[in-house]
Subunit: 387 residues, 2 copies
């Protein structure tokens, strides 16, 4: 007889089930089997496996017409204390069945201890930037097709106008017209030069999204070059690759996560993840210090409520895992800052790309306007109704 | 003025658009901008960027009521000849917008040359196994919770019954009750011993899905131990991590891809990928030699037509990228083999887990029955209507 040596500790995945009332219980039971033993219940004869390895429906209740919420617990050992296997237990095979969505994770300390989480988080990053309270401002270098020198020129202008964080557009990687290394060197230099003139503390964040080893190489290079942070799209690289960077002491830079390639997890309410679970909880477990998502009312389809949930999940207590910055972007314009501040409060990074570049005739001035609006909206209304 | 040095070569992504007729053209144009310049068209003033970097709608036509097909081409240089950035151009930000699905990729040689693709493919793997024509048989070690010794005992029984490929269940990683190394050593040994007795050439394929560096370490260990193949879930690891294994000369083992975590890309027809694009084309680009997917009529929701498209895309010409084995599984039972052979033909791997384990009283005999059914169905009806 095997000796499972289980800790008797379990984590919970809360699922949203869409289906008929008579099917809900069967769907929940099916989840318990599908990502653990992958066998019909009658074939699981082993007492300990039946009793401990299979998921357990802790609660099942209707939340709307044809919608149910199931709290399913799993033994922490099923994850092998690995990120990939944690995702597999929570939403591996189950992802292939219609009508099942992950609403949120409830993780005990034993599981959270395997995740270092964000190296900086809201507090650490603010300390590093010397900005204790106001919203942070971020813009992007674009369009793809600019040379490295043109990117650097743009970076210099944005920095001189008081932007805090300048990131590569996430589509800039190592194209022949603006190689990674040349772009990173020139942009870091342009931002440094601007900082010397303004006395500000702007940082440049190159996009290091690439194959795992190449990503690590670029991140370490970025650190040596003197950039102040990194952009990663975990949907393209896998979450563990992002976490690898966050945990790397030779990199040790703040990371901003980009939602590229992850849309299919959220565009349909009956499958995938809740906005908070993926852009809040998974981003934090993956070591991101800020999480970009499409702002409501922009050119994407996220609602104000969905964005509010990302804010909530970016900040909710998660053991040792720090809160991170929600970073709404995607079609933001300057005139929306005041209204947005009511949802996002002060601990937010406002990401404006095209909305600033539109003022190319006097970009530094547009940046200063952006900063004034963010500062005044923050002090005028520090309350946050997004939680 | 920058010198783009473009090759004037473009690749095509065919999108399925769901929406009103009056919106289709705008959706297609939007795709052209969203994953390249990420700017409104009026802000892209640069002639070369406008002319070459932005995607181009090559064709747009209705295919059903409220459904359109758009062929959009992109300059190969936009991908930086990187897998992650290729995925980003094809379905990065665009994934975040409702009503857009990737139907298929049409890639020119210059882009295909960056992908080595499957190291073995159908022909190479058949040569290695010494099985020139008949369908291959695969089963899985389960349930999670078995000890390494129990896994090995099961592997020995399956091997002695004539199963060709024995894989770990994809949820077996490095759990405390069956550590990766111990399991791989014992299972490889049990299969080797059985082969010595039967004269057959069964192989054991451990699941190496893990964080990138750990996955590479386990894959190399698996090779040294003498296992004959690997199981990887690219949805959990990222496609590049799987490709890294396929390209590694110190590993050099056939790879079977598992669809875990990828369901949200296909469960809704209006977003994500077509079944053929993700489980056929992307699996091949990622270096898989076989692609597991849920069989129609089993406990998942794939239709016969969707499975047929995976077969088609697993075999269609793609430059130097070899055809791979479609591997239907998930609730398969022995009595379905004959019917399934009409869709899958001979170049298929039949994956039966629970359907075999149900016969635990005499597993080797059930395996022999499975093999006879597959062999006779193949010779009786070699035609394949799945293409």
């Amino acid at each position: 007889m095997i000796d499972l040596k289980l800790r008797e500790e379990r984590f919970v995945v809360v699922y949203r089930l869409t289906g008929a009332k008579e099917d809900a219980a069967a769907m929940a039971s099916d989840i318990c089997l599908e990502d653990t033993v992958e066998l019909p219940y009658d074939l699981v004869t082993e007492g300990l496996i039946r009793d401990h390895i299979i998921g357990r429906v802790e609660d099942l209740r209707p939340v709307a017409d044809g919608v149910f919420e199931a709290r399913v617990s799993f033994a922490v050992e099923t994850t092998a204390f690995e990120f990939t296997q944690f995702l597999n237990v929570a939403f591996g095979n189950v992802s292939l069945k219609p009508g099942i969505r992950v609403e949120r994770f409830e993780l005990p300390d034993s599981l959270l201890q395997i995740f270092r989480g964000p190296r900086f988080g809201v507090e650490g990053w603010r300390r590093r930037l010397g900005v204790p309270k106001r919203p942070l401002l971020c813009s992007a270098l674009k369009p793809m097709g600019l040379s490295a020198a043109e990117c650097a020129e743009l970076a210099g202008k944005l920095a001189s106008g008081g932007i805090d964080l300048i990131k590569d557009d996430h589509g800039l990687t190592d194209q022949p017209f603006a190689r990674f290394e040349e772009r990173a060197v020139l942009c870091a230099k342009a931002v440094k030069k601007s900082n010397e003139q303004t006395g500000l503390n702007c940082i440049y964040m190159p996009n290091v999204t690439a194959a795992p080893e190449e990503m690590l190489r670029r991140a370490r290079m970025a650190r040596e070059i003197g950039t102040g942070g990194l952009l990663v799209a975990p949907g393209l690289t896998g979450y563990d690759a992002m976490r690898r960077l966050a945990d790397d002491d030779a990199v040790a830079l703040p990371i901003m996560a980009h939602p590229s390639f992850q849309g299919s997890f959220v565009t349909n309410r009956s499958c995938g993840f809740s906005h908070g679970a993926i852009f809040g909880q998974l981003a934090r477990l993956g070591g991101a210090d800020a999480t970009i998502f499409p702002n409501y009312g922009g050119r994407f389809s996220f609602t104000r409520e969905e964005c509010g949930r990302i804010v909530e999940f970016s900040r909710m207590p998660m053991g040792r895992i720090s809160p991170i910055f929600p970073t709404p972007g995607g079609g933001m314009s300057l005139d929306r800052v005041s209204e947005m501040s009511r949802l996002y409060g002060n601990d937010v990074i406002y990401l404006i790309g095209a909305g600033l570049l539109r003022y190319s005739a006097d970009l530094p001035n547009a940046c200063r306007m952006f900063r004034r609006m963010a500062e005044s909206s923050a002090s005028a209304d520090p309350a946050n109704d997004g939680g």
